[in-house]
Symmetry: D2
């Protein structure tokens, strides 16, 4: 168990490196009877593809998913669903410049310290391609959740210091700009900022927000497997995420109980609702029936085409310039990854929750 | 597996309610040969006791830990270490006021939705007393880590909007004030703020910061069991935590790669170091050898002695006043809980890491 | 995770040594709403007590279970159920004779090799008292299963070479003799054999058979978590068990397909039944709706009051006589342990199976 | 987690059906630095291929393994090793005869009861092809174990009632006959018996014995994860296995302590040895340093070309003849599967054991 397994009931195991034969994931525990085809998964993979914008790397990956098992006559059988995406672009590159040098902000040094050596071709398991397995499995989780009336939607909340304006929020806008921002004005400002960054050979970070609708009250386990704790782990496990919030998050630390407590009320049909949602849909680690709201902070892409000081394997102080095309910001491509991780987490705890009562 | 288990190698299972016979924890997987006595654990439990300040509940709990198993001739045997703390104050109270009402900001409604009923005496498993098991097990993890030269220290970083000033940072000060703030000036201001809040029958939140020193590079598993992801889950599983950061956290989302990348250099003795620590000691989910820095945002205590609107089990809109003495802020008592969760996580991943190489 | 956890949904963690403060178990994952009291558990513990026969050790243990958590108003809450049995008989004994010597047939040498030292007082975690946690948790599993119409019953099938005669099988007889044999004639012969063994300062083994009735078809997971595989692990984990069979077991290896295949037929009410049950109620690792039949072979008690050759910690060849009263056969006391392990396994897989379909 | 995961440190997840696109396995937790190539795995897969004998099905499968990830410059990287074997023979067959009928002795009825429907093409996940994933992963475990001086070897001990004679035991003979029997005389008798069975359109079972050499004392966890318990689960999870023994197994139940206890002695070089090995190399669930000996009883192949009575999905009593070529005995092909399961279990517990001491 070297970290590539996630989930108890809806369990996934991912595999693959950026420059190996392919990447993939196996899902064990998807209930039998769910309609599922490759297109259900492909449309999620397409959303994480680069080349959709001039701010994301131009390499056309064309990641095509193949379902290898677990489907019979268009439906899940309850047995493992193996998914594979072949790496098409395996051309030999010249890695001599980085093979013995630890890139600042990357995991190179840590992998070497851990395993005694590292796969220096494109980052190995710390590469962005590792997220293909997450997204592919997440698409299956999304399909399962939709069967139960649950939707998961994420978007770019901010790029650098440019944030969407809640008054201009329009989810439909998300698809119309290449930064996945649901606010046309903010998106335009962010695109201008990106141009400036590329000019300056620099990169930036941003925040992704995710809304999960339709989760019934009662999902999440007390104590260690709280819904928010599991969401935090799932989202923080995405490369480059440095912060996580649920509901009001860090702002709650500056609030008061009289403001932060969400009052309950009953609707005409007897449904229990909350007047506000500072909790972000989770109380005591268990869903309270309102929208689940979470945010993830992504650090700036560490790959920048600037000279940086670092160390090589021989322990010498050296300088490095990381060549090649790099995304100046990972956030737009990470939106679908956050959705995937959220969906995987809710699916797992939803199934686990079936055993809470006699 | 209803959420009360944490960890793979250093695995713990906690149990107990605030108003049952006691609370406790069993640790399975502490290596054999570690010196351990009740005092090692008691001193950590004493740090989470209320009654140490006029801002924390006055009830004298006097939680005494008893080691029931796993120690022979003063050393761990490698077999389970069972720890128990009896609840002394089990006097029958009058819970009629809250037994059928869902307290705003509490997990009452969620537990009812999940299990079909709830233990209304003091919150059951969502009570603050649940953290005793965490702290007791955490103290053992701390002892184990100290054997390997690793220290874990947390403190109050902010109370409401009052934050410690890094220029006045003095860890020794932490023990001198009742808010566990390592800055005498900030502590004084926070105490004044607390008085005002108590007057106003209100409560507030705050931020705890935790530093882990001495973790060698290479701890943490790639992909899903990244060190920061596991820390996030562990810390977010503490009741009332709504946000988590590692290193620069959300500030990193507003930074640039040229600033956020920590450059490596080699010291005279060949040790690889970083010039800055924006990463908070973790790159690609694996420790990089520098200090691990994390923060947790706590929401305001939901129990306030004010009239609030809510709903009862019959689905009627009602009003509630939660009587009794309550902490207007949980942060000072939570400091040791954050330490415990951090220690448990690092101990588990440190042991898991023994299998990374041949 | 040093081996003291069992189960995924109905998960238990046991703790305690024979000569420490007590032994116990925590159950995490028992569904909410099950009526449960100490007497439900005590009656199972009483069945494993020694002193009920002149062939089992005379020490009166009087193991009294205490429920510490997880019950509210007589019902399970869905949160952990902690159970403790204090060790009453902790008088200091003289262990000098065995503390440095590895008893033949015991785990002394293995524990020392594993942990670098051992708790020599009565076997530590390899003591028969370790089974108290199993039986206490098993009693809860039995209560849960009975809610779903499932019964688990075990008995002594053979003692040494003396086996019950299927034609004289009478389960009621089981309670009437001290060897738990459901055949009065065989029991009488076995008692005579036991007398002879005690005279000869020797010991013997035997076989326990267990029948599980009422398990619906469909319980068990394909591939690695087959119902029979999980039962095998659970039962083989009982100290002294050296063999396990399901249905016809080893006899099936000598049979033919035309005989061994159980033909299906439909009853008037549409129920699918089998004409025979060579499979022992499990096909492809999944329950087939008929009785589940399993057997466990126990080796002779290794503690015999005879001079034996062995080795001490210093690596010297020495002789040893293990003094004290010992059961010449563990089988009668193990019957309830087999029931417990079978119940724990079926309960876990029954709950897991709730997630098989949409 | 629907049963397709095995192991904690050396964890595998298998996938695939007999008539889908392929079968495979992903290994997460193989330590970094192990030399590994496809040939290491292929030679194990070749041993389970049919068509090597007239007693095993003639279909040429030609299962070619492909390593998809986890290897860099000929060595394991510590990250997941994904292995795939494409199903070549996917020609459409006529399954109408069995698609609505439950074959006696097969898992058809149980899968239907569990999932609400079944993949009727060749047994789905209960097919013998499912073992390809086990053998492929097992080959990697074997390679890892050999690095630590551990060998795993299994052979056919008996076919029906024909058993090898210990006096004629010759492991080299195993490769010379198609039944994998290490005794030429017994092999000849068994081949004659097989001819007779095929004539009679019947099938038979048999016993596989496995010897594991070189396991140091101290492997295995106390209580639930005993080495023998884990071996039992792993081996009993192979389709058609109905019984499991360690060391003397069921014969121990008829033995006496004075005979069954293995006495220890010290060799000239200080090594602790045992004069006998009734324990089969495991005491108290932990390896004792001597050879580990286990046996698995396989039932007769349920597929026989005879008319049998059964039930269809509509609940009608019907008759069935299962056409096609079937192995009259699975034992020879199962030998390598038993080796694989034993190797996977020992590898996992060997790695886990690294955390037993400080």
């Amino acid at each position: 168990m070297a970290g590539s397994t996630l989930g108890t009931m809806f369990r996934i195991m991912t595999w693959g490196e950026s420059h190996g034969k392919g990447v993939g994931v196996t899902i064990d525990g998807c209930p039998a009877g769910l309609s599922l085809c490759e297109e259900d998964i492909q449309k999620y993979l397409d959303r994480r593809r680069p080349g959709q914008s001039r701010f994301t790397t131009a390499r056309q990956e064309g990641d095509q998913v193949e379902i290898l098992s677990g489907i019979f006559e268009g439906k899940t059988t309850g047995t493992p669903i193996a998914l594979i995406v072949r790496n098409l672009d395996q051309r030999s590159r010249d890695y001599r410049a980085i093979m013995d040098v630890y890139r600042p902000g990357h995991a190179d040094y840590c992998f070497d310290a851990k395993y005694g050596f590292r796969d220096y071709r494109g980052g190995g398991r710390s590469s962005g391609r590792e997220t293909i397995g997450r997204v592919a499995a997440g698409a299956v989780a999304v399909k399962l959740l939709s069967h139960y009336g649950i939707q998961v939607e994420a978007y770019t909340k901010s790029i650098g210091t440019i944030e969407i304006d809640p008054r201009h929020f329009d989810l439909a806008e998300r698809e119309k700009n290449r930064l996945y921002m649901p606010d046309a004005t903010a998106a335009a400002a962010a695109e201008a900022f990106m141009d400036e960054l590329m000019q300056a050979q620099d990169s930036c970070g941003g925040v992704v927000e995710c809304i999960i609708r339709g989760v019934p009250a009662g999902v999440g386990e007390p104590v260690f497997d709280k819904l928010d704790a599991c969401l935090a782990k799932a989202v923080m496990s995405i490369g480059a995420v440095k912060g996580f919030e649920i509901g009001d998050g860090f702002a709650a630390a500056q609030s008061r109980g009289s403001v932060n407590n969400d009052e309950f009320y009953t609707e005409a049909d007897g449904a229990v609702k909350k007047r506000t949602n500072h909790s972000g849909g989770i109380l005591g680690g268990i869903s309270d029936g309102s929208e689940i709201v979470l945010r993830a902070a992504f650090k700036p892409t560490p790959s920048i085409v600037r000279q940086q000081r670092t160390v090589n394997r021989a322990g010498e102080n050296v300088e490095i310039v990381v060549k090649g095309r790099h995304d100046p910001v990972v956030v737009p491509r990470a939106v679908v990854v956050v959705e995937a991780m959220a969906a995987l987490t809710v699916a797992d705890l939803l199934l686990l929750g079936r055993c809470a009562k006699l």
